[in-house]
Structure formats: structure tokens, C-alpha cells
């Protein structure tokens, strides 16, 4: 096997779940490597997916490393590569290289309460951490999920969320009122303020649109969270995944390599350029 990181491993799509339809369509893909290839990763790391003939796109791995049978990616149809992925059917073969980037320091969080806060497709990287925490349930205290989208039809992993709501606090929200919606109406940061998660022995993990992350952090700070208790994961355009192609940097940090995971204590020291 080549140790050339630019050469993707081939993987077959074994399952596709249509999460969200319409203009901001989201599908969840499960893939298995062909040719006996393997890939070990940590929560928060990303993979560069190839659709041959279209190109590559850096995508968060949504499944937990505890799941060994497949890798899972939840992908919004957006550009050339993700649109091509959305056209693919089960049995199609894509390329996967990586994993790239750093990871959430989940070992340091043992014994703490975990609060996951995400918006829209920002749930994709958070889902991996969340599933890993559930898989090692005894290692952590209370687990809470705050999740929102523009409309109820834009919620990713909705079925899973509704099942989980029976076991742990799941606080869903949509941006504007809809008939039959019994949960919170408003933006995700407002839902955070409304639910008042306690900062005591807690870690908050947030991902969503940049503007949501900004206000979630403000809401958490109001509730008494310290910068070191807040983690997020950053996205930027990437081509190489290994800190060389030059475009994903925030200051001197290459998000592909030095990120994508940052505590707010770390991220606030960098220029606001993401």
C-alpha cells in the first residue's frame, strides 16, 4: 500500500439515508473500505472524500470510532463534489483519504457533564463525539443535546433524536413557528439561554453556522462557562488536508492540521478569519 497520503482508499457506499430534502438537502452515507483497507481515527477528525472526475471535499466523520463496520458522513448538497455524492446510489465507490486534523480531547472530559449544541448540518462533526460519549456512557456525567434548524424539515438525525429524547434531555428548536411544533421556537443560542445548562463540571461542544457559534459562545459565557469549557470545530475550504495548499489557515494555524477542533480559549487568540 502506498504511503502517499494523496492517494485515496476506495470505499463502497453501503447505505444512504435521505435526512433533509429540498434546496439544502442532506444525506447520510455509510461507507466500507474495499481492498481490506482500514482507517483509524479519533472523534473530530475529518476525511477527504473523492468523487472521481469531480474532485475532493473535506467532510467530518459522523460515526464514532467505536463503530468498526463503517464510516458515516452526513453531507449537505452544496458544491460540485457534494452534489455528485447526492446523485450516487448504494454500491457506488468513492475515495477516502485521511483521517486529518486533531480531535476532541474526550479523555480529559471523563467524569464531566457534556452539553452538545449544534445547528443545521453543524451536527455532523458533533454527532461523532456524542455517539462516542454514549458508547462510553459510564465515563461521563449528564449528557444533554441542544439542536436546531431553520424548519422541522431541516433537522438532521431527527428520528435518532426523538428516540434519544426518551433517555436524555434533547432540546430541539426551529427558527420560526410551524403548526404542530411543540418544542422551542427561535435560534439555537436562544434555546441555550432558555434551557440554562449548568457550567458546573461541564463541557460544551458546539458546531453550526459561524454566526450561530458566535452567539452560542456568548450565551454560554452568560451562563458562566469559562473559555476552556467550550469546544467547537471549524471548517474552511481545503484541498490538501495536510497543511500545504495554503487556504484553510486562521492566522498561522492550518485548520486541516492544527484544527479543526479548538477550545474557545484557543480559538479566541486567533484572528477572526473563518
Amino acid at each position: 500500500m502506498s504511503d502517499n497520503t494523496y492517494i485515496p482508499k476506495l470505499a463502497e457506499i453501503i447505505d444512504i439515508n435521505e435526512e433533509v430534502g429540498g434546496a439544502r438537502a442532506v444525506k447520510t452515507f455509510k461507507t466500507v473500505f474495499l481492498n481490506g483497507d482500514r482507517f483509524s481515527f479519533l472523534p473530530g477528525q475529518c476525511a477527504m472524500l473523492s468523487v472521481f472526475g469531480k474532485g475532493e471535499s473535506m467532510i467530518s466523520i459522523s460515526s464514532s470510532p467505536l463503530v468498526e463496520d463503517y464510516l458515516q458522513f452526513s453531507i449537505m448538497k452544496m458544491g460540485r463534489v457534494t452534489s455528485a455524492l447526492h446523485e450516487m446510489e448504494t454500491g457506488a465507490v468513492i475515495g477516502v483519504r485521511g483521517p486529518y486534523g486533531n480531535n476532541f480531547p474526550m479523555d480529559e472530559w471523563k467524569g464531566k457533564n457534556l452539553i452538545f449544541i449544534s445547528g443545521g448540518i453543524g451536527i455532523a462533526p458533533v454527532w461523532c463525539v456524542f455517539q462516542t460519549a454514549l458508547g462510553n456512557r459510564g465515563d461521563y456525567g449528564d449528557i444533554t443535546f441542544v439542536y436546531g434548524a431553520r424548519t422541522s424539515a431541516d433537522l438532521v438525525y431527527r428520528e435518532e433524536m426523538e428516540k434519544l429524547a426518551k433517555e436524555l434531555p434533547v432540546h430541539l428548536s426551529i427558527d420560526v413557528e410551524e403548526p404542530g411544533w411543540a418544542e422551542f421556537v427561535g435560534f439555537v443560542p436562544q434555546n441555550v439561554t432558555d434551557k440554562k445548562p449548568s457550567p458546573k463540571d461541564a463541557i460544551a461542544v458546539t458546531c453550526g453556522p459561524p454566526i450561530m457559534i458566535k452567539f452560542v459562545i456568548e450565551a454560554l459565557k452568560e451562563l458562566g462557562f469559562e473559555d476552556e469549557q467550550i469546544y467547537t470545530t471549524v471548517e474552511n475550504k481545503m484541498k490538501c488536508g495536510i497543511g500545504k495548499c495554503g487556504r484553510c489557515n486562521i492566522g498561522g494555524h492550518y485548520v486541516c492540521n492544527d484544527g479543526p477542533v479548538y477550545s474557545w480559549a484557543e480559538l479566541k487568540k486567533l484572528p477572526q478569519e473563518y
Partner: protein, 346 residues
């Protein structure tokens, strides 16, 4: 190892290097570029510097990374396409450009060493040519740690002494190219070494442009991220990107798939130089752009070279070759910009 070489024996030397791609600066329409010349070359006495430095030999503007081919099979075949193991030797490399290669070495090295770059790099011998005069009025190598007689990154250094070169061999790769030359070389005279040193010292004194307060630059730039300075300085930029394409230290690239046959799908994944001065360099597919205007892109160019690269690799990512000043169509001048940062009210 020191030798001398009569300039009229230069072509003889090239004849002794049949296994190499031999690059020599070639003049075309008043500008020089490194071209493969076989054994029919000499370094033109009017050579200043090439428009594109030897960066193009170790990191070509376009290169194929892999091929994919879906003939007959459900799964495509992916074939790694590494550069050929062919040695290359570049003659007439200016010290600024050789030093620039040591900087791209840092980027393409590290934990994820780039196999394409290193295949070429390890096969490339750089034969330097000490500047007898600064090649341009916009040279500023001495401000950023270089010199007209600098040796960083070179395998052999030639210094012009009238009708001959003083030849210093610095590395094993260089020794190979010199020993292949065999009897074309002569032994230096007693005072050749001194004469050669004098050439470099005199040239250094003629480098007119200096960056003021260059030692404080990284510190000065630390507080300037949000400054309106970048708006003021970038107003005339037309986003052509020549500053970074021609920069010998700039390494940013794009990767794209090129389809050769649509069905059954056959094509290549290609790496090309890319450019931080282009709006879509950083634009997300959502349309969000972290560097959405000329100001943020000029800021990136300057801060990358004089702050981020220093933080990551301990050196300025600039060797003072002056190309970005010479070729900028609207007169954005990196030395002026840096000088102004020193004086800018924060």
C-alpha cells in the same frame, strides 16, 4: 572543493551531463526563463534573473498526482503518478531563489512529507550564480537574511571572474555534477577565492532597497490584523495574482480532477499553483468567504510571509527577489508596504 571554469568551456561541461535535464536561463523577448537546453547552452552575460525561478523545477505549475480509470470494473482503478526519477540540473540560480527552495522544503516536509515534491527535489541540483550586480533595482535580499553571494540551498556556486567562473562545490549532489565535468575545470589561482568574495561583497553594497525596521516586523504585524491599513494598501489590487505566482517561496496549490474520457470514466487528478489573491481561493461552497475582499487577501500575503511563517518555521517567507514589485501591474510594492507597517499608528 574549489575549481575554475573557463566560460567558453561551459558548453563542454553541459555535454558531460547527458543523463540530466539541463536547465539554463534562456532569453526570449527581453526576459529570461530556465529552459531545458540539452548541451547547447551558456549563461548569457546579460542574464539578470528569470521571470519564474527554479521553483518550477521542483514544484511545477501543473502536475498529475494520480490517474483514475473505470474501464470494466465497478470500482475505479487508482494509479499513483509520481514524477520520473530523472535528475535535473539548473544553472544560473540566483541566491535568493535557491534560498527560497529551502523555504518550500520546510512546507513540503514535516509530518506529511509531499512525495511529488521530494521526488523532484532530491533529483535536482542547483548551480548558483553569484550576483555581480543586483539583478534589479527592486532587489532587497539583504533585508531579509540573504545576500547576493548567499549559499543556502545551492549545490554549486559559480562566481564570475571575467572570462571564467570560480566554482565552489557545496554538496554531494554538486560534487557529482562537477566530477562529471572532469577535465573541463581548472585549478583556482591563489587569489581567486578573495576575488570571488569581493564580487559578492561589492554586489551587496549595491542592493539599494532596504526594509526599515525589519527586525521588528513580525512584532509590528502582530497588532495589525484589524487595521484599516490593509484597505488603504490594497485599493489598487486587480487580483491578478502575479505577485504570488512569481514568488519563489509561494507554494499554495489547488487540486482538481480533469476528465479525459467521460464514459467509462478516465481522468487525472491534477495539482496546479493557486493563489491567495484570488477571491475563490478561500470561498466555501456555501458562498461564505473568510477572506472576502482585497484587503484581507493582501493582509494574508503579508502576514503569511512575515508573521505566520516565522511562527511556524522560524524564517521570513520572502527572500527579497523583488519579483512581486517588478511585475505588479498596479505598483503594489512589498518593501513600501512593510516600511509603512513600521510607521503605522496602531
Amino acid at each position: 572543493m574549489e575549481k575554475t571554469l573557463k566560460k567558453d568551456a561551459f558548453a563542454e561541461w553541459l555535454k558531460k551531463l547527458p543523463s540530466y535535464d539541463v536547465y539554463v536561463p534562456v532569453e526570449d523577448d527581453g526576459r529570461f526563463n530556465y529552459e531545458i537546453v540539452g548541451n547547447a547552452g551558456a549563461i548569457d552575460e546579460s542574464f539578470t534573473n528569470a521571470v519564474v525561478g527554479p521553483k518550477k523545477v521542483v514544484f511545477p505549475q501543473r502536475e498529475v498526482l494520480l490517474r483514475f480509470n473505470s474501464t470494466n470494473e465497478k470500482a475505479p482503478e487508482v494509479e499513483e503518478v509520481l514524477p520520473e526519477e530523472k535528475p535535473a540540473v539548473v544553472f544560473g540560480v540566483r541566491p535568493c531563489d535557491a534560498r527560497a527552495v529551502t523555504l518550500t522544503d520546510k512546507v513540503f516536509g514535516g509530518d506529511f512529507a509531499d512525495p511529488y515534491y521530494w521526488r523532484r527535489r532530491n533529483n535536482t541540483t542547483l548551480i548558483g550564480l553569484v550576483c555581480t550586480e543586483p539583478p534589479s533595482a527592486n532587489c532587497f535580499c539583504t533585508s531579509v537574511g540573504g545576500s547576493p553571494a548567499g549559499k543556502d540551498g545551492l549545490d554549486v556556486v559559480l562566481t564570475s571572474l571575467g572570462d571564467r567562473y570560480y566554482v565552489e562545490t557545496l554538496t554531494t549532489r554538486g560534487e557529482k555534477v562537477v566530477s562529471d565535468g572532469g577535465k573541463v575545470f581548472g585549478e583556482p589561482a591563489a587569489d581567486d577565492k578573495k576575488a570571488a568574495e569581493k564580487v559578492g561583497t561589492e554586489a551587496a553594497a549595491k542592493v539599494e532597497r532596504q526594509v526599515e525596521g525589519v527586525n521588528d516586523l513580525t512584532e509590528n504585524l502582530r497588532d495589525m490584523f484589524d487595521s484599516p491599513f490593509w484597505d488603504e494598501e490594497s485599493l489598487s489590487c486587480i487580483r491578478c495574482g502575479i505577485c504570488t505566482y512569481l514568488c519563489p517561496t509561494c507554494h499554495c496549490f489547488d487540486i482538481n480532477d480533469e476528465v479525459l474520457v467521460p464514459v467509462p470514466l478516465t481522468g487525472e487528478r491534477v495539482r496546479t499553483w493557486d493563489n491567495c489573491q484570488f477571491p475563490d481561493f478561500t470561498m466555501h461552497s456555501s458562498g461564505h468567504n473568510p477572506r472576502p475582499n482585497r484587503a484581507s487577501r493582501l493582509r494574508q500575503r503579508i502576514l503569511h510571509k512575515f508573521r505566520y511563517f516565522v511562527e511556524n518555521f522560524g524564517d521570513y517567507q520572502c527572500t527579497g527577489c523583488g519579483r512581486c514589485i517588478i511585475y505588479c501591474p498596479v505598483g503594489i510594492d512589498i518593501v513600501d508596504v512593510l516600511d509603512k507597517t513600521a510607521a503605522y499608528e496602531r
